[in-house]
């Protein structure tokens, strides 16, 4: 099915009452593939705390044992900041699990729905998703 449009959503501030209300500013489908969900486990090598989206770079070991450096797109810094995250919340060397969807262009790039630290703390990065479950109010 030719995917005409997939909403590109990321976490808004209002996270309390039920499913997150998300908002979008450009197309998910043009960049990411909702048929390619990916879960990565690895060590943080770099955190780019930048707008319009922060990026968490991790060294993840694939099923073949090969280590690849992935770039994981997250919500913008001001959204993360309002959730209580700070630039030093995520540091080089931290072990994380990142869930999301892979880019269509076969680079080691993905959009992260969540980043979970080894202590269980979860950053709901709420970036590009397939849209439907998260956006239903």
């Amino acid at each position: 099915m030719r995917r005409t449009l997939l909403a590109w959503v990321f976490c808004g501030c209002g996270l309390l009452a039920g499913p997150t209300v998300l908002s979008a500013h450009h197309s998910f489908a043009a960049e990411y593939d909702a048929n390619k969900p990916v879960t990565l486990k690895g060590k943080v090598t770099k955190v780019d705390w930048v707008n319009p989206h922060s990026w968490v770079h991790i060294d993840a070991t694939g099923p073949d044992g090969k280590v690849t450096n992935w770039s994981c797109e997250t919500a913008p810094p001001n959204i993360l900041y309002r959730q209580g995250w700070r630039p030093n919340s995520l540091k080089e060397g931290d072990e994380v699990t990142v869930d999301g969807f892979a880019a269509k262009d076969a680079s080691a790039t993905m959009t992260a729905r969540s980043v979970t630290l080894s202590n269980g703390r979860k950053m709901f990065t709420g970036s590009n998703t397939d849209g439907a479950p998260d956006t239903k109010k």
Binding site: W49, P77, Y81, R86, P87
Partner: protein
Amino acid sequence: MTWARVLARHIGPIAISVLLVAAAAQPKSTYRAPRTPDGKPDLQGIWEARNTANGDLEAHSASMGIRAGESVIVDPADGKIPYQPAAREKQTQNFAARTSADPVNKCFLPGVPRVNYMPYPFEIFQTPEFVAITYEYEHASRTIHMNNSQHLDGIEFWMGDSRGHWEGETLVVDVADNNGDTWLDSSGNHHSNAMHVVERYTRTGPDILQYEATIEDPKTLTRPFKISMPLYRHTEKNAQLYEYECHVYREQGGGSK
């Protein structure tokens, strides 16, 4: 008598220095600006610098695209930025690479204080709780909180975080949370993310707004320095801001890569 000697030896010179510095810092103006409805000096309108500070804060000869100009640095008296040696070396390297390295050439936000002396107008709006400054260049925008609130902690912005208050005729703005990624001019004068700026805006006449900024940066400077310059009101009929969307022109083939 001993006390008098102590006073004369120590307090006297200090007092004199304080007076001199204070005299240099005060605009020599007795102009009283009209008031806004809530009784504050009315700085509103469209303003623009008319100098070469954006080319080089320090005194400089002309070069392609940049007029000659005197330093806008009033302290230290030699008009030079009091860099630590490594920071001066970095400025020299920046200057050599400026065509590609100047963040403004990539259409990035210019930061404070440079945004105030870019060759584009800006407009000041005042309400009791906020002073907003909207800039024609790249639709840069600054919101100055006037409610005695604290800077945000643990975040950095291209345009910093601004908190202001009034001192008589002067709007004093404290600018923190600056990232280290902007330049002070196109000659490679730079700063770190430890930069802290205190601005002073004072109307000295109907159409002149004196702008002063004290810049401190323990990572790059040996001591703070201060710039001072008049900003001029746009008095033409129907003056307004337009748009200068640098990154659009760059994307569509206008700037250097």
